[in-house]
């Protein structure tokens, strides 16, 4: 029922999307595709696109939600990017997920698809030596259709905008710290997904209201088929068996991390804008929390923060796992 509703919503919201640059004809049948919704992310785009190109993503399908900073123009010049423009409400489209579901259904079916935000960077086991095709081929061998990657909030030492981020720069040169072991997990019996909360956002902004802390569980890499929909961002998928990306009998399945480069200088402008636009999840309560928190406690760093080295470090810390892929 939820699934039909999700598909129908995607169908309804499809008219809001206007193809600005449709290069989907160049997609080949075994390409890994990347789906993104963005607004005013010009400064982040060059590094973002290059990062995923290096992993082996072949085509980007991007919804530009009325950017005014030149993001649209920049994307037009990229040969491997198709762009849809919309000026409709981000919130009314279920925070972009209706648009994503529509594009995924239309262009993603039969492909491995990666649905991420422009500040999310996928890390999977062996990503430094094996392209993403190695992972998807391996998943295909076992008929696994969904690969989990928990959101790992990265932050700099000191105020998050002390060191300005400049175009093309690796964001993790600045935001290189993370929380290694304060994540709280419970199982959502209805949709069978794990609900993960914690990290710097929970401790800094939601210490008094933990139940409102942002969800960190994500399933960004999915072999798409027409009967699938994302339910709430990429936190949950339908049919729900796709959410069973974890082992319940003591073993470990393979998983990755989405390094989240949110706490960087571009955030300042975003917070100011969202406070008035009110387009984000939960009546933008997360942004509201930053609005108050970013002035009073701008430094997320603690004595126990870990400095990012590589995926092996994340695996040793227990944040991700190679499972039996070795």
């Amino acid at each position: 029922m939820d699934r039909q509703r999700g598909q129908f919503r995607g169908f309804l919201h499809r008219r809001e999307l206007r193809a600005v640059s449709d290069r989907t004809g160049s997609i080949r049948h075994d390409d890994v595709l990347c789906f993104v919704t963005l607004r005013n992310e010009r400064v982040r785009l060059p590094y973002f696109l290059d990062y995923y190109r290096r992993l082996g993503v072949r085509h980007f399908l991007i919804v530009d939600n009325d950017s005014a900073d030149g993001s649209g123009e920049y994307l037009l010049d990229q040969n491997d990017v198709s762009v849809w423009h919309t000026s409709a409400s981000y919130r009314a489209s279920n925070f972009g997920i209706d648009w994503m579901n529509h594009l995924l259904r239309r262009y993603g079916s039969g492909h491995w698809t990666l649905t991420v935000d422009p500040d999310e960077f996928l890390i999977y086991p062996f990503h430094d030596t094996r392209p993403i095709g190695a992972l998807t081929d391996w998943l295909d061998t076992y008929e696994i259709r969904a690969f989990p990657a928990m959101l790992l909030d990265m932050y700099p030492k000191g105020p998050f905008d002390a060191q300005p981020y400049h175009e093309g720069q690796d964001p993790f040169e600045i935001a290189c710290w993370f929380d290694s072991g304060n994540y709280m997990i419970r199982k959502n019996e209805k949709q069978r997904n794990l609900w993960i909360q914690g990290g710097p956002r929970a401790r800094a902004f939601f210490a008094r209201r933990p139940e409102e802390a942002p969800s960190l569980n994500k399933i960004p890499l999915v072999r798409w088929s027409k009967d699938q929909v994302f339910l709430s961002s990429t936190h949950m998928l339908l049919p729900r068996r796709l959410n069973a990306v974890y082992d319940e009998w003591g073993g470990e399945k393979a998983s990755g991390c989405l390094l989240h480069a949110k706490f960087l200088s571009p955030l300042r402008g975003k917070v100011a804008e969202e406070m008035t636009r009110n387009q984000h999840y939960g009546a933008s309560r997360e942004y509201r929390a930053y609005g108050s928190g970013l002035e009073t406690t701008p430094d997320l760093w603690t004595n126990w923060s870990e400095k990012y080295i590589n995926w092996r470090q994340l695996e040793i810390l227990g944040l991700m796992s190679r499972g039996m892929w070795t």
Binding site: T129, S180, M184, R203, W249, G251, S255, M324
Partner: protein, 564 residues
């Protein structure tokens, strides 16, 4: 000494062409079998790629389906073609399109020259293999399998069940002992010729056509009838994972493969450019070192372990075990102390001086999270926020132990603390729980509060501790639990303290134990008597004689207070 290669190919044909060319150009004839379902244009491209080499030929094509006779049929045709066309071949090596030679051909030829009459084929009787996946081992040879496992799983399973129910059995042809083994072998010409020209071959073939996965048993069984010298191992490095699929090799396995000294490895990821470039480039033959797969074996065993058992005490996005399937509810042993801080106000400081461990205070105190050293942030960036701790106390504790698992964690507990984890602690074999029952009363005894409040609090704490003791004494306990009554403990505290310390790990074992300073319990018996006089029955402390009356240190005069 010439060796000929049979290659069974179905995908990644351009890689197969590269490998075939490598062997052919090194002087070995190659017979290629291409699955008849491979796309036509790819097959034509493969023919084109090797058309300049006349020692490469193609055998009759079969539609190969895993687990069925078709693979054996394809192998037999290819082998026959090899024997017919290349009389110079002394050994025949069966490989797949996803195989990669790791050593120059000359090294393999030299190795085979040393073993001219040896058949290298893994061949083990059914009773002795433990690696079959899917639950069908002996029955592979005693039932019939006319339905496809891949396409008609339900028919396959149903027919197996039917045969089991009616006790159907069939026997292998007389004289044949079924053997199993890796399907990748290297046989001598003589053995292979004998197998293919055996007068009873029709009978054998008819039997094996209905055997499950005959490519792992046909040659493995028949070799036993004809071979002079069987070396029961495969010259092809192939490792299977816990799901029964071959592990794949990638560019980052280069050094591992190089050092293994294996002749051929499978399965190689088709886009592992560096592996193909490295191993297919011409190199001088160096020696006849024996293959050694121990390192690779360990790596893959480790992967299997991680997939099936995981890391104990870790709860994460791809490992969230159900209750009783945790394989370690926590990551490391830890110690819980109840009643000690009440009796020894300096207990935490004393313990951290004496013991090699991380000594926290009352982690679950209702006032604050007492991390070791009074820190507000703990290992893994756990914070002292009470709502965060109480939002998911189990995650709080398991995270703490996982994050700081190199040090032994110790923490204090009391009936005053929030206690959602009683069952969790009691059923965790890693927990070592020491309880001095009734010690909470010492704190009340020393408190300067109105006696009515004290009495109420005493009743509440006694109720909570009684419940907790019920858990700790239940039949489900897996933790190491020690319980003393207060009076027992006070009589001789040194011995239990010594035992506890030894378990936590003593910092300086030669030092004589100096117990911490205990509170003065003069008048405690009177205090308990006073509780009794007020109608509350203190049950958990043991016997304390009550000489004379009792005066509250806070000046609460006995006699005032509430009813009940």
């Amino acid at each position: 000494m010439t060796v000929g290669f049979l290659m069974l190919c179905h995908t990644a044909l351009e890689r197969a062409a590269q490998v075939a060319r490598f062997w052919a150009e090194s002087g070995a004839p190659v017979v290629i079998h291409v699955d008849s379902r491979a796309p036509r244009h790819e097959v034509e491209a493969l023919h084109r790629r090797v058309s300049d080499l006349d020692t490469i030929s193609f055998s009759a094509r079969h539609a190969c389906e895993w687990g069925t006779w078709s693979l054996v049929a394809a192998t037999i045709d290819a082998a026959q073609q090899m024997l017919d066309r290349h009389p110079e071949v002394r050994h025949v090596f069966l490989a797949s399109g996803a195989c990669l030679p790791l050593r120059p051909l000359a090294e393999l030829e030299a190795y085979l020259a040393v073993h001219p009459d040896t058949d290298f084929i893994e061949s083990v009787t059914v009773a002795d293999v433990g690696w079959t996946v899917g639950g069908i081992d002996t029955e592979r040879f005693t039932l019939r399998f006319p339905f496809s496992w891949r396409r008609n799983r339900r028919l396959f399973d149903g027919y197996v069940r039917l045969q089991r129910r009616f006790g159907f059995r069939r026997n292998p042809p007389a004289g044949l002992v079924p053997h199993l083994g890796s399907q990748w072998w290297c046989l001598t010409r003589r053995t292979l010729d004998d197998i293919l020209s055996d007068p009873r071959r029709k009978e054998y073939d008819r039997y094996f056509k209905r055997v499950w996965i005959p490519d792992e048993s046909y040659f493995q069984s028949l070799t036993r009838l004809h071979a002079r010298c069987v070396d029961s191992r495969s010259l092809t490095l192939v490792k299977f994972d816990v799901r029964g699929k071959p592990h794949i090799f990638y560019d980052d396995h280069l050094e591992l493969l190089r050092r293994s000294n294996c002749f051929v490895a499978r399965k190689i990821w088709p886009r592992a450019d560096r592996l193909y470039d490295t191993f297919l480039s011409p190199r001088p033959a160096i020696g006849t070192a024996e293959p050694d797969t121990a390192t690779i074996g360990r790596l893959f065993d480790h992967a299997a372990e991680r997939r099936t058992r995981g890391r104990p005490g870790l709860y994460m996005q791809s490992r969230f075990p159900r209750q009783d399937h945790e394989n370690g509810k926590t990551a490391a042993p830890y110690s819980v102390f109840q009643g000690f801080t009440e009796l020894f106000p300096e207990f935490c400081g004393w313990l951290s001086r004496q013991a090699a461990g991380r000594v926290h205070g009352h982690l679950f105190s209702p006032e604050r999270v007492e991390f070791a050293g009074g820190a507000s942030v703990g290992p893994g960036c756990l914070t002292d926020s009470l709502p965060l701790r109480d939002y998911n106390p189990r995650a709080f504790l398991t995270n703490l132990i996982w994050n700081d698992r190199s040090a032994r964690q110790c923490f204090m507990l009391s009936p005053r603390d929030t206690q959602p984890l009683n069952w969790f602690l009691a059923t965790d074999p890693n927990a070592q729980i020491s309880v001095v029952t009734g010690a909470w009363a010492v704190r009340l005894f020393r408190a300067r509060r109105p006696f009515a409040q004290i009495r109420r609090e005493a009743a509440r704490l006694q109720r909570l501790e009684t419940q907790q003791l019920g858990v700790l004494r239940s039949g489900y306990v897996k933790a190491r639990v020690r319980i003393w009554t207060l009076s027992e403990f006070v009589e001789n505290p040194t011995e239990p303290l010594q035992t506890i310390l030894e378990e936590v790990g003593v910092r300086n074992p030669r030092q004589l134990l100096t117990p911490p300073q205990m509170v003065d319990l003069t008048g405690f018996g009177g205090f308990l008597q006073e509780l009794r006089n007020r109608g509350m029955q203190p049950r958990l402390m043991g016997d304390f004689p009550a000489p004379g009356g009792w005066r509250s240190p806070g000046g609460a005069v006995s006699g005032e207070g509430e009813g009940s």
